[in-house]
């Protein structure tokens, strides 16, 4: 009989793979991988702020994390040099995070939990939130797949075609930010970058079609996640770290093969 922690970890890996497939792939198509790192670290600031304000507003810290991550996405969407905007927002939010962590010393471990994440320590609430967000992300991306693809390929062409390209750009980057936040609870703010970006980047190297990239990215993330989980059961390894190592190794192997 499987332990309930393991069951939750398996569900989390499935959800993580869906997010890596959708958000990861569009991040690669938009050529903005740094957005994931920026959103994840901004999310820490949001979570730390909500924990610091817990005595006044009792809301799940992840909502604060989502708001901060979306703010980074918005600054990237608005800026002419998206990576510069993300970098500045990254630095700003890390400063805010450290400031709040210094104010909530006794609760700081909860924020550090988000920094490193743990697949085996997820609660039912965490899984529920991940599932709801993932379903929303699937619905939005299925509904606006054509628009997202068009703006990733040619933003100005999309505008001339009558597509509300700016709106869809904000929407897509926000989706990526939300996806980053909900998955970082499982793998942590540092390793979420590897888990969302590496499978999609590897799939983009190997796949021969758009659909192929989505499918292959999901498969790579699933494979990396399960290897991480499996090894962590038998050895005292962090499952997220192993998963991230496997995911990035897949990229390097395919990169080497392709070069």
């Amino acid at each position: 009989m499987l332990d309930e922690f393991i069951i939750r970890a398996i569900i989390a890996i499935l959800l993580l793979a869906i997010n890596a497939s959708i958000a990861g792939t569009f991040t690669i198509f938009k050529d903005m991988p740094f957005l994931v790192a920026g959103s994840a670290h901004a999310a820490l600031a949001g979570a730390a702020m909500m924990i610091a304000l817990e005595n006044y507003i009792n809301i799940n810290p992840l909502f604060g994390a989502i708001i901060f991550a979306i703010l980074v996405a918005f600054s990237a969407a608005k800026a002419k040099q998206a990576n510069v905007a993300i970098g500045i927002a990254f630095a700003f939010s890390m400063a805010v995070a450290v400031l709040f962590i210094s104010l909530i010393k006794e609760q700081a471990a909860r924020v550090w939990g988000l920094l490193f994440g743990d697949l085996l320590l997820l609660t039912n609430d965490d899984i529920f939130l991940m599932a709801i967000a993932t379903v929303l992300i699937i619905i939005v991306c299925l509904a606006f797949n054509r628009e997202f693809l068009f703006i990733s390929f040619d933003m100005e062409g999309a505008m001339v075609q009558g597509i509300k390209a700016n709106f869809f750009n904000y929407l897509l980057l926000s989706i990526i930010a939300v996806s980053t936040v909900v998955t970082m609870k499982a793998v942590g703010a540092i390793l979420v970058y590897a888990m969302l970006i590496a499978p999609a980047a590897a799939a983009n190297k190997k796949a021969g079609s758009i659909a192929g990239v989505f499918t292959m990215a999901a498969f790579f993330a699933l494979f990396a996640g399960f290897i991480g989980l499996l090894l962590s059961i038998y050895f005292p390894f962090s499952p997220s770290a192993i998963a991230a190592l496997v995911a990035t190794s897949i990229y390097f192997i395919l990169y080497k093969k392709g070069s």
């Binding site: 050529d31 040619d154 100005e156 001339v160 075609q161 796949a207």
Partner: protein
């Protein structure tokens, strides 16, 4: 029909265009000038992608933004993404409609455009696997698939092989005869000099606008490029400026 009156535009205080005025009706117009002369800015203003700070632009009697559904656009090759495995059909279909799902008619329209540019066999191919000339022709097919009243092309012959370029010029001539209005931004005007009705010589200001015979001479070219430009007069009496690495 395009009317541009006293239009100015600046990027963060740096003037890109100053008091540009010209108009065209059912014509094939080339916009030429040195790098940074405001050619791309001008067409972005005509398409409503930028808003002019001063002046007025009307496209078929409408505000620029309102006329987008009448415009087919082929952007500069460097502005499009080539790093993911998008297929030719996905790109050409983009030009057919803004609806969320493609109809049978949209697919037929896209196939017809790809056939027009001579690449029907590439329908299912990966865009990134094509030669630069083929990629440019695919982008051209996307602009045609919209069946626009006004076709705007930004450096369409850049890095294009000669057969592809000649094929594109033949199609432009055919579209022109069918009544399509065309604005083309070019660095090297020579390949289309005999085909166009008007030239706008630009260097932030409109240096000259008129037929190629009226506009292209050593005096106007020097004014636009800031240096003497060699010209070759062909037997039909056109002045071919020798700009860049391609000569007349």
């Amino acid at each position: 029909m395009i009317e541009v009156k006293n239009v100015s535009y600046a990027y963060n205080g740096n003037i890109a265009l100053q008091n540009v005025t010209f108009s065209s009706k059912d014509e094939f117009v080339a916009v030429m000038g040195p790098n940074g002369s405001g050619k791309t800015t001008l067409i972005k203003l005509i398409m409503g992608l930028l808003e002019s700070e001063k002046g007025e632009i009307k496209v078929f009697g409408r505000e620029a933004k309102e006329a987008r559904n009448l415009i087919g656009y082929m952007p500069q090759k460097d502005t499009i993404a080539r790093h993911f495995p998008i297929r030719v059909k996905d790109i050409v279909l983009m030009g057919t409609t803004k609806r969320r799902f493609y109809t049978k008619e949209d697919i037929e329209k896209a196939k017809k455009s790809l056939e027009e540019v001579g690449l029907p066999h590439l329908w299912n191919e990966r865009f990134s696997s094509l030669s630069q000339g083929q990629q440019q022709r695919v982008m051209f097919a996307r602009a045609l698939a919209k069946e626009p009243k006004l076709l705007i092309l930004d450096e369409p012959f850049s890095a294009v092989d000669l057969p592809s370029r000649d094929k594109m010029i033949d199609i432009l001539n055919e579209k022109r005869r069918e009544g399509m209005e065309i604005i083309i931004v070019v660095h090297n005007i020579n390949p289309i000099l005999h085909e166009i009705d008007k030239v706008l010589l630009l260097n932030k200001k409109a240096i000259a606008f008129g037929s190629p015979r009226e506009v292209l001479n050593q005096e106007t070219l020097k004014k636009a490029y800031g240096t003497d430009i060699q010209i070759v007069v062909c037997k039909e009496g056109y002045c071919h400026p020798l700009i860049g690495d391609e000569h007349a």
